[in-house]
């Protein structure tokens, strides 16, 4: 146990009392040393010069009841104990000159004594870690006949405010409200949708398909359906989430379904896979349209029979998981193109919900704005508000046709985070809003330019057919192609590293195949040169 040091003010009123009656009274500073189960190794007492007599009495009494404690007093000079600046300066100076050794000693700042100004200053300096301490608050005995006073130690590290955090959670934990993250949304279509989802989530364990553009909140909704089932239906397994667009090649099978040791080069031990991990819980497969044909076949088996074959194994594994799939593509279109299995789609689209983008729910902007601010507070521990005028200004831009909200609620979240971070003293002013609007315009404009190129090449509905993940890559590839004289020249530039390692010889062929996936060929790109 590290030695414990208490720092606090002498209570010029509250520690002082008729000397003859002082042991009948609650004196906060003295009371800290009267606990059988609490031992302070050192006291650093702040006091003013004029309080010499009181200091001597208090310290003498503490010495009598706590011979274990080393006692020190410090005269702090301020003309007016109610002057914020003077008190803060005195304490700030003390904190700067005191030899804190948090590795060797634990510190508690006593905030029951001293003027309110002193208490506030102590709080601020402790919160800012100028005093590397927790707070201690003492309180009188519950019954006056009891000698034993009470104390409470408060750690300002926000992560430890468990009970307070639990209260916020409780507010949100109510069904429909919960699925909407507690956001009082107004869009009637969306609200109806959510009510239906709540019913389905609690009444059925069949797969659910969530459709909607990127940033519409599919992933967050899946997580909340899981929480709801966990709380109401006692689901015990975990929530496992994966974006299928990130699964490529051999590792896709292994990531999802697991493998046996030695199934392929590098498979040095058994791996359970995500489906197995989701046993008894909920698996959220985002961008399910990106799954390769082999994975689709195995997933179908897993959904229908609750069994599947890990890579390199001759024994099927069982997993009883519930499935939610997400997509921003038209899966029927993918079926027609032969890219997605019809039987798998039939299995997962029993319950299909389409989440509208932000542009289709403009009336939900204000409540979502409030929500994002709350989220910021929860993350940063810092409360941020809009000035009235600033809020109006932001909302009017957000509702205008000029605001594209290409990334939907994700864009809104990012936008609020930026403004909140830059806001001085927790107030977002018109200045911050203006700067943010400029940033959003710029982002959407570049988005607009590149999307114009892609639209010309890939067709109007390209956003429904391809992931951002692929589009970002394609954009870069197209730039190189546009500035290269031939397919081979472009291939050399794009695959320079693997070429140097001699791991690939036919760059041109590799590039041709890549472009073919988007139904593009090099000649087409040359006819339509991209600027930049």
């Amino acid at each position: 146990m590290k030695p414990l040091v208490v720092l606090g003010f002498l209570g010029t009123q509250i520690d002082a009392t008729d000397p003859a009656r002082r042991w009948d009274r609650w004196r906060p500073t003295v009371s800290l040393f009267q606990h059988e189960d609490f031992l302070v190794d050192r006291l650093e007492l702040f006091r003013e010069r004029k309080d010499e007599t009181l200091t001597r009495m208090v310290l003498e009494d503490i010495a009598s009841i706590s011979p274990e404690t080393e006692l020190r007093d410090h005269t702090l000079e301020f003309k007016d104990p109610w002057d914020f600046e003077q008190v803060f300066a005195a304490l700030h100076d003390f904190a700067g000159s005191y030899d804190f050794k948090p590795e060797e000693e634990d510190y508690l700042v006593h905030i029951t004594t001293g003027s309110h100004v002193a208490q506030i200053c102590l709080f601020l300096l402790t919160e800012s870690r100028h005093f590397p301490a927790s707070l201690i608050q003492s309180a009188p005995p519950i019954q006056r006949s009891h000698y034993e006073a009470r104390y409470q130690i408060i750690d300002l590290d926000l992560s430890r405010y468990d009970r307070m955090a639990a209260r916020f959670k409780l507010e949100q934990a109510q069904g429909v409200d919960y699925l909407k993250s507690g956001i009082p949304t107004r869009n009637p279509a969306f609200n109806q949708q959510i009510e239906l989802i709540e019913k389905v989530a609690l009444a059925s364990t069949a797969p659910v398909l969530l459709m909607g553009p990127t940033g519409a909140g599919k992933s967050s909704l899946a997580g909340r359906i899981y929480e709801l089932r966990r709380q109401r239906l006692g689901m015990e397994g975990p929530f496992v989430e994966v974006n299928c667009a990130t699964l490529r090649g051999d590792s896709a099978m292994s990531t999802l379904f697991g493998h046996r040791k030695g199934a392929f080069t590098g498979a040095s031990s058994d791996r359970g896979g995500l489906l197995r991990e989701a046993h008894g819980g909920l698996l959220f497969l985002d961008e399910i349209g990106e799954l390769g044909p082999d994975e689709q076949a195995m997933l179908l088996r897993a959904v229908e029979a609750r069994r599947f074959l890990p890579l390199g194994s001759d024994q099927e594994t069982e997993s009883d998981f519930q499935l939610i799939a997400g997509t921003n593509r038209d899966l029927r279109q993918r079926v027609r193109e032969g890219q997605f299995r019809e039987d798998l789609l039939a299995r997962i689209d029993l319950w299909t919900f389409e989440l509208p983008g932000l542009k289709d729910r403009l009336e939900d902007l204000p409540p979502n704005l409030d929500y994002e601010l709350q989220q910021f507070t929860a993350r940063s521990g810092q409360r941020v508000r809009f000035n009235k005028e600033a809020r109006e200004h932001y909302l009017s831009f957000a509702r205008s046709p000029e605001a594209l909200w290409a990334g939907n609620f994700r864009d809104l979240g990012g936008s609020v985070t930026r403004m909140a971070t830059l806001a001085p003293a927790g107030r977002i002013r018109v200045d911050e809003v203006r700067d943010e609007i400029t940033r959003l315009r710029r982002a959407w404009q570049s988005h607009d330019e590149s999307s114009h190129r892609l639209e010309t090449l890939l067709g109007r509905d390209y956003r429904e057919r391809f992931d951002d993940f692929d589009l970002f890559q394609l954009e870069g590839v197209l730039k190189v192609c546009a500035s290269s004289a031939s397919l081979s020249a472009a291939g050399r530039r794009l695959f320079a590293i693997s070429r140097a390692r001699k791991s690939s010889s036919n760059d041109a062929d590799r590039l041709r195949k890549y472009l073919a996936r988007f139904n593009l060929d090099f000649a087409e790109l040359q006819q339509e040169p991209l600027p930049g």
Binding site: Q34, E36, D37, S64, E68
Partner: protein, 343 residues
């Protein structure tokens, strides 16, 4: 070094007594011990500040190695080294009982043939612990009769919650404990109703004494009022002392806030009346204290009113350290005969 003795700290009444007796006897026998589940059934389990002070005092006297000597600790290992006679000074916090600290080191003093002087700061008149006047009037005379050259002196009174008292215990060189048998009270030599007020009105003491003498229908008794000015804080208690030829009985009533002087007096009257209706020479609180020195003397016997759970637990711990047999036998006339026999 002899084998480690394991002690269950939650046995019997499961308080600090088990710990104090173990500390005292470990110093006497040189036997190390490990105590677990210290005060396990108490509201605040483990070592409290007063216990820690006792552990450290015994550790200092016996140059012991300590493990787990921390606030709130539920386990303690105590490995004594060489016990050195001499002068010691200990300070106990929260106005804890000085006598409870003394209990941890007194056994080592009793078996030593050298001179000792131990001074302890803290509470001297505590509820739930033998008070300083009880020691000087009842307990020390017994030690004297057993041959111990020990005296206890109240230097300054200390009361809860302010503390600040000083109790000192002196042991002269030489002397050896011998068995003692106390089976009869003998003649009543003196009866006394007393009260003490520290920084409180003398009238409180007068009222307490009036109630005691009236309730006991006493006439030619001694009365004594002690007024104390130099204590750290206020205090009040009253007592009934009955000195017999072979033993002295002492009953204390403790004053506290919001408790009338009359109720304070009544709180020691019930015990005194029960004792008067009896003929056993040793009342139960003295019984608690006598077991250990008698065990160190290698034997003895006495008749008592009724052994407390404290006494029974104490006897268990004593028997685990010393080769002695302690028996409690109920007699036909409501008294208990306690016999200690060396094995």
């Amino acid at each position: 070094m002899s084998e480690l003795l394991h002690i269950d700290g939650s046995q019997g009444e499961g308080g600090g007594q088990v710990l104090r007796t173990a500390l005292g006897l470990s110093l006497v026998t040189g036997r190390p011990f490990q105590i677990d589940a210290i005060r396990a059934r108490r509201r605040k389990p483990g070592l409290m500040r007063q216990h820690l002070t006792a552990v450290k005092a015994a550790g200092e006297v016996g140059r012991a190695r300590l493990r787990g000597a921390e606030l709130g600790s539920m386990s303690l290992r105590f490995e004594p080294g060489e016990v050195r006679a001499g002068e010691y000074e200990f300070r106990i916090g929260t106005a804890g009982s000085t006598n409870l600290v003394l209990q941890a080191v007194l056994p080592a003093m009793l078996v030593s043939d050298q001179a000792w002087f131990v001074r302890i700061h803290g509470g001297t008149h505590n509820r739930m612990a033998p008070t300083a006047p009880f020691l000087t009037h009842c307990f020390v005379p017994m030690l004297d009769r057993m041959g111990a050259r020990v005296s206890v002196h109240l230097e300054r009174a200390g009361f809860y919650p302010a503390g600040g008292g000083i109790l000192s215990c002196q042991k002269r060189a030489g002397g050896q404990l011998a068995p003692l048998d106390i089976l009869e009270r003998g003649k009543l030599l003196e009866k006394e109703a007393g009260a003490l007020v520290a920084q409180l009105s003398r009238s409180i003491a007068q009222r307490e004494i009036a109630v005691i003498t009236k309730e006991l229908s006493w006439q030619k008794n001694r009365t004594i009022i002690e007024e104390i000015e130099d204590s750290q804080g206020p205090g009040n208690l009253c007592w009934i002392r009955m000195a017999y030829e072979h033993s002295t009985a002492w009953f204390t009533g403790f004053g506290e806030q919001r408790k009338s002087a009359e109720r304070v007096a009544h709180s020691c009257l019930d015990e005194a009346k029960a004792f008067l209706a009896h003929d056993a020479p040793i009342e139960k609180h003295l019984c608690d204290q006598l077991l250990l020195p008698m065990a160190l003397a290698g034997g003895g016997s006495f008749r008592t009113t009724a052994p407390t759970p404290h006494s029974l637990t104490n006897a268990e711990v004593i028997q685990s350290f010393l080769p002695i047999d302690i028996r409690f036998e109920k007699e036909p006339d409501r008294a208990w005969l306690v016999t200690l026999t060396a094995q």
